[in-house]
Amino acid sequence: MNGKLQIGWNRNEMAQKVAQDLPDGSYVNLGIGIPELVADHVPEGIEIIYHTENGLLGMGPVPEKGQEDIELINAGKKYITAITGASYFHHADSFTMIRGGHLDISVLGALQISKEGNLANWSTGKPGAIPAVGGAMDLVAGVKNVWVITQHVTKDDHFKLVNDCTFPLTGKGIVDRIYTNLAMINVTEKGLQVRELAPGISFDYLQKRTEPTLIQ
């Protein structure tokens, strides 16, 4: 993507890791970007219901070429389909699902995640940046489990897993799991706990690319 060699898992493999962890029957909201790929990797035999905050429960796969419907889109404004058994609703009802704690899992992208599970994913706070928050703050406030998928470091090799977020927060203490190209990490009361390392990635290699001290 950025001219570098792929280290660890690629985007699809990261999405697959998340998909494998979704419990059968979960109601899941997928954020824009890598999270959208999760829908392509759900194991056979389990059923996941995808929610898109612009008013659909039961989001289906991308439509075939030529079958797109301008009035059937996801939160990222991309064309989607609806599964058999779906339902449409307005925005207040959609965020009743989110804020009211009815969704099981929210999968989001990230700019920074702190060791306490703080998340920054909507603005760099830089002058001239156009702040755009969308539904992220509602999702992290209302959904039971917040999982993040992200590259482990920025394109110019800065930490994304940090002691303290320097960008404006989306929510405080709300991230439960982090899936990166290098590892799967749980946010625990004691700190960031590594659950799995990507093939060929050592704990030391991971620690060097992570600001907080990791728990093995």
């Binding site: 929610h51 058994g85 339902s87 449409y88 207040a92 965020f95 804020r99 009211g100």
Partner: protein
């Protein structure tokens, strides 16, 4: 596969515990889940707090649940009606608590509970005894009272058509409180007149999306309070 259908109405309510907060759909008899209420009477759970607009009529449904001394407290807007005898008697004897809530405030508190809104301000009941002891606050020179969202451990509702995902539609004014009650409980238990395959309900006309529903029981020939009362039926018989 997601399948919220439960074969046994008895089983569907079997975990309603003593002291639970239970919302019960219906406005008068329209939408009242009579069979689920009767199974709750069979179960015999005590010290329940019931959130429902009315207190039932005759000696069936909610009235029978109250008569069976399972209800510690009613949260409702209108605890009397033409054939309502059970609640008034217990209330006068101090044997049941009443939290009287204006109907629109009751609806909004239930909706808020389901929507993750802990509290809101409403003009209803300002300058009346029902606002006594509550926070009053001015916005733009008008007074409003703060009310809290309500959540329940269980909601019991009746619908017209359901599928295995828990998508629901209702019939006419039997809809009333049920869609918001579905959103406000940890466990929502639904009795449906018709059970259909996913897709048989047009996604545009689903009133309660399945995410708000936990269990669906088919009751094809539900009983109605007014018919039972006219026949002088009691529950348990």
């Amino acid at each position: 596969m997601i399948n919220k259908i439960i074969q046994s109405d008895k089983e569907s309510v079997s975990d309603i515990f003593n002291g639970a907060i239970v919302m019960i759909g219906g406005f008068g008899e329209a939408g009242s889940p009579v069979e689920l209420i009767h199974r709750l009477i069979d179960l015999g759970s005590k010290d329940l707090t019931i959130v429902s607009n009315n207190t039932g009529s005759g000696n069936v449904g909610i009235a029978a649940l109250i008569a069976n001394r399972q209800v510690k407290k009613m949260i409702c807007s209108f605890p009397r009606s033409t054939n309502s005898v059970v609640f008034p008697e217990l209330y006068r004897n101090g044997e049941i608590e009443l939290e009287l809530v204006p109907q629109g405030t009751l609806a909004e508190r239930i909706r808020a509970g389901g929507a993750g809104i802990p509290a809101f301000y409403t003009p209803s009941s300002v300058n009346t005894p029902l606002a006594d002891g509550k926070e009053i606050r001015e916005f733009d020179g008008q007074s409003y009272v703060m009310e809290y969202g309500i959540r329940a451990d269980f909601s019991l509702v009746k619908c017209h058509t359901a599928d295995r995902y828990g998508n629901l539609t209702y019939n006419k004014t039997a809809r009333n409180f049920s869609p918001i009650m579905c959103t406000a409980a940890e466990i929502t238990i639904v009795q449906t007149k018709h059970l259909v395959e996913p897709g048989d309900i047009d996604p545009e006309v689903v009133i309660t999306p399945g995410i708000f529903v936990n269990r669906v029981v088919e009751i094809s020939n539900p009983e109605y309070e007014s018919v039972l009362v006219a026949n002088n039926e009691r529950y348990p018989k």
